[in-house]
Subunit: 347 residues, 2 copies
DNA sequence: CTGAAAGCGCTTACAG
DNA sequence: CTGAAAGCGCTTACAG
């Protein structure tokens, strides 16, 4: 790299000390106005820009926020990241993104990486595999604030930003019931994740309101083995006593359902209706258009970042941590509508 | 932030000098093996991790790569970013992502931000609005290497990674012709972008092979005003002499076409066939499943990062810069298939 | 109002 | 083999 201009260069040029240059640049009041003007002019002329690395070393602040998500290329994640970037940028912070790829060990390694990079704070949504939270406690003990979003954990005492998973699942299930369904299956992910429990409870409570007894065989906990998942779904829908509707807790499973049902030539929604959590803007163009519970992903990112920067910059720590719960919205589309209604579908 | 342990702490604990600690940690050969062992043990015990900020200041290297994309939440961008992260991570670099939001001024500001953050190199795909490249030249003149990907510019002499836009457009258009179409429209973006020109040329040359005269009214240059774009499309397809197929140069326009055609109750592909560049994994689930030209986005990110790190780390600059051209693949689906064929469609 | 000095955490040429 | 010193770019308490 060629030489970047430093305050030393400005000082030399003006034959004054670096202290004076520094003070002039920072707008210190104890500097002679004319000196200040001179320094500013020369700085502009030489295209001086302060070296943040030097500042970081001095201040022990990097103005960098570390983020751990599952997968950048995942639509949900990238929308959240956009929200994070948005708020961070406004507040003069930069963002360092890492991915766990849903692997616990990678998540732990990322935590250490971010801490060693001396980020000012960390935003995390935990992996599917994560069951212990020592790695999170460890960085918090080092004094690095952490805010959890989306997939959070009760074991960690800090600010959290989630969507109202319970309500979202409840609304979707109530909708399926309103369409006449009583035999509703639920496809979900790791049993031990908070969002799994909350969405499951929303589903169960919705059934309960209509005195529908849940069928254990219709609640499927899936993992990341798409082939095995596909077989579970195939078994579910080929059974004599099969459900007439399926509610999926994540987009990935909705898509897999769509695929399997098409392969088996099962009509949606005539034979089996479909609804699921998803934020993909293409959802409405699917075949059939998919009924989705949408999450305010961009806002989640923004809000989590706002809370984190508060923790970073506030002298006094809050006596109580906040749990922000954002509302989901239900988008009813062809995949779950009674057939006669489906003809005048939204686009 | 609480106190993070430094080499000074280790030195104090062992009553030796920081120089010795530093050398032991770095595995210098001129250190007594037993001293070295001791230092390593204490460092591990105290959970020492070197402060990269101090190193950056000394080495004038941050091991951070800056990236400028249009929009993180855009599927194409996030896939590329995943590839960038992948390679950077392997090489021990971190990535700082910024977004131009397709705005020239923001792109320039991001360029300055990244330079002032002292990134070791920059990866950029230019905005829709970008017509002058002085901001790119400026950072390169400061000694910060730049690699361009996707939307590149002839005016800048550096490594570039692109897909074979010409061939991708050519293949898609040839396919439409093979399906019996002669009246093929082309929807594209800013006229002055390289990718626009290349895709347009691929389209035109494909028509030429069959002696089909291009119709100027069927080549639409769109911008970001979705309403105006929608009206252009509506006008196109409501015309008496309308095309029987539309080839879109970007996903956004394919989706808009889909929307407009559905609104007008025009059957796809029976009345108008559709094909377009897109990498959305949901493409095959669309209604109808969309014929797409797919780009190897992940590889683009990886390759661009590889070339950038070469520029950063190699002592001698290459005498000639490379232009890497990656191949697209055509995925033929229901939106462009002759109806009788469409019945046994892939899923 | 201005300057010399110390210090942030680390490395390394120079002495010994 | 080990240590004291200088330096990366900057800020700021201390003197004057």
């Amino acid at each position: 790299m060629l030489h970047q201009v430093t305050i030393k260069d400005i000082a030399k040029r003006l034959r004054i000390s670096v202290s004076t240059v520094s003070r002039a640049l920072r707008g210190s009041t104890e500097i002679n106005a004319s000196t200040r003007k001179l320094v500013m002019e020369v700085a502009a002329e030489m295209k001086y820009s302060p070296n943040p690395v030097a500042l970081s070393l001095k201040e022990k602040k990097t103005r960098v926020i570390g983020v751990i998500v599952q997968e950048i290329a995942n639509n949900y994640c990238s929308l959240t990241i956009a929200g994070i970037e948005d708020w961070a940028c406004k507040m003069g912070y930069n963002v360092l993104i890492t991915q766990s790829h849903e692997c616990f060990n990678t998540e732990v390694a990322n935590m250490h990486l971010l801490a060693s990079r001396r980020v000012d704070g960390i935003l995390i949504t935990i992996s599917n595999e994560t069951k212990t939270l020592d790695h999170v406690r460890e960085v918090m003990d080092k004094g690095i604030p952490v805010v959890m979003f989306d997939r959070v954990s009760d074991e960690i005492n800090t600010h959290k930003v989630v969507v109202d998973d319970y309500q979202g699942a409840y609304d979707a299930t109530r909708h399926l019931i309103a369409q006449g369904h009583k035999k509703i299956a639920h496809l979900t992910i790791s049993r031990h994740l908070g969002i799994t429990q909350n969405r499951l409870n929303g589903y169960l409570d919705a059934l309960r309101t209509e005195n529908i007894r849940p069928n254990k065989n219709w609640i499927l906990f899936c993992d990341f083995n798409e082939i095995a998942n596909g077989q579970m779904i195939r078994k579910l829908v080929k059974d004599k006593n099969r459900p007439t509707a399926i509610f999926c807790s994540v987009e990935r499973l909705s898509m897999l359902c769509l695929k399997v049902l098409k392969e088996l030539n099962i009509q949606i929604p005539e034979e089996i209706a479909l609804a699921g959590f998803s934020d993909n803007p293409l959802g409405k163009y699917l075949n059939p258009a998919l009924t989705t519970v949408n999450q305010p992903t961009f806002s989640i990112g923004q809000k989590a970042t706002e809370l984190l920067i508060d923790l970073i910059e506030d002298e006094i720590q809050p006596e109580a941590f906040k749990i922000i719960q954002l509302q989901t919205t239900l988008n009813i589309r062809a995949s779950s509508m009674e057939v006669e209604k489906a003809s005048n579908v939204e686009n």
